[in-house]
Amino acid sequence: MGVQDLLFWFFSAAMLLCGVLVIANRNPVNSAMFLILLFINMAGLFLLLEAFFLAIVQILVYAGAVMVLFLFVIMLLDIKEGARKPVKKLAVGLAAAVGLALSAEIWLAIQGPAAPAGAPLHGGLKEVVKQLFTNYLLPFEVTALILLVAMLGVVLLSRGREVK
């Protein structure tokens, strides 16, 4: 248990740090990189939570596909470093306030009595998949449809006005 706790703290800290860096960076490419790191740390947390399938999927899809897409677009649009515009102190202050308030609320909300715990799902991938293909079959199929629609939409949107 001790190792797992340590790993938890490590992954969490790293993740949050990466998150801060995503926001704070001027260069979008740097932000993207830090986001990838964040996803990897997230995958680590998933592993700790024994959601192995999801951890793999996280890396494959998020870090592998989504972020690559991000970087492609950044390169395509040739986005330079953001200009050095003075940051409005008020905006930062307000945003920080919001963030802090939210965090505090979450912390307060957790203070309540714990929910009843069931038998921990130890690597129950079989269980998950079984649910997926029986109870949640419809959403499963629908997501396929959504992906198709998204693909079509993307093609349409990025075609622009070249074709007369």
Partner: protein
């Protein structure tokens, strides 16, 4: 001993970070990235619940969320590309045609 509330706290903090990022960043792309952060935070919370409460639904939710998020990012980026063609910028400050 790490319990559910720790994971939830981390998730909350990440979510807050994402929200702050959306409010602060000028570039549309980075804003989108921060949105992804928030989504991930929710995913973390779901998985944590799934683990500690012994229910499969959490992981299933995350599964779907990841898929949808991927689709969403694709479409969003396509929009930004199209927008860039029109306005030559992705700075949110310049995209104010919805201003009253």
């Amino acid at each position: 001993m790490v319990g559910l509330d720790h994971y939830l706290l981390v998730s909350g903090l990440l979510f807050a970070l994402g929200l702050v990022g959306v409010a602060l960043r000028r570039s549309a792309l980075v804003t989108l990235m921060c949105l992804e952060m928030t989504l991930n935070a929710a995913n973390l919370a779901a998985v944590a619940f799934s683990h500690y409460l012994g229910r499969a639904e959490g992981q299933i939710l995350v599964f779907f969320t990841i898929v949808i998020a991927a689709a969403e990012v694709a479409v969003g980026l396509a929009i930004f590309v199209a927008l860039f063609r029109q306005k030559q910028t992705v700075s949110l400050d310049d995209l104010t045609s919805m201003r009253s």
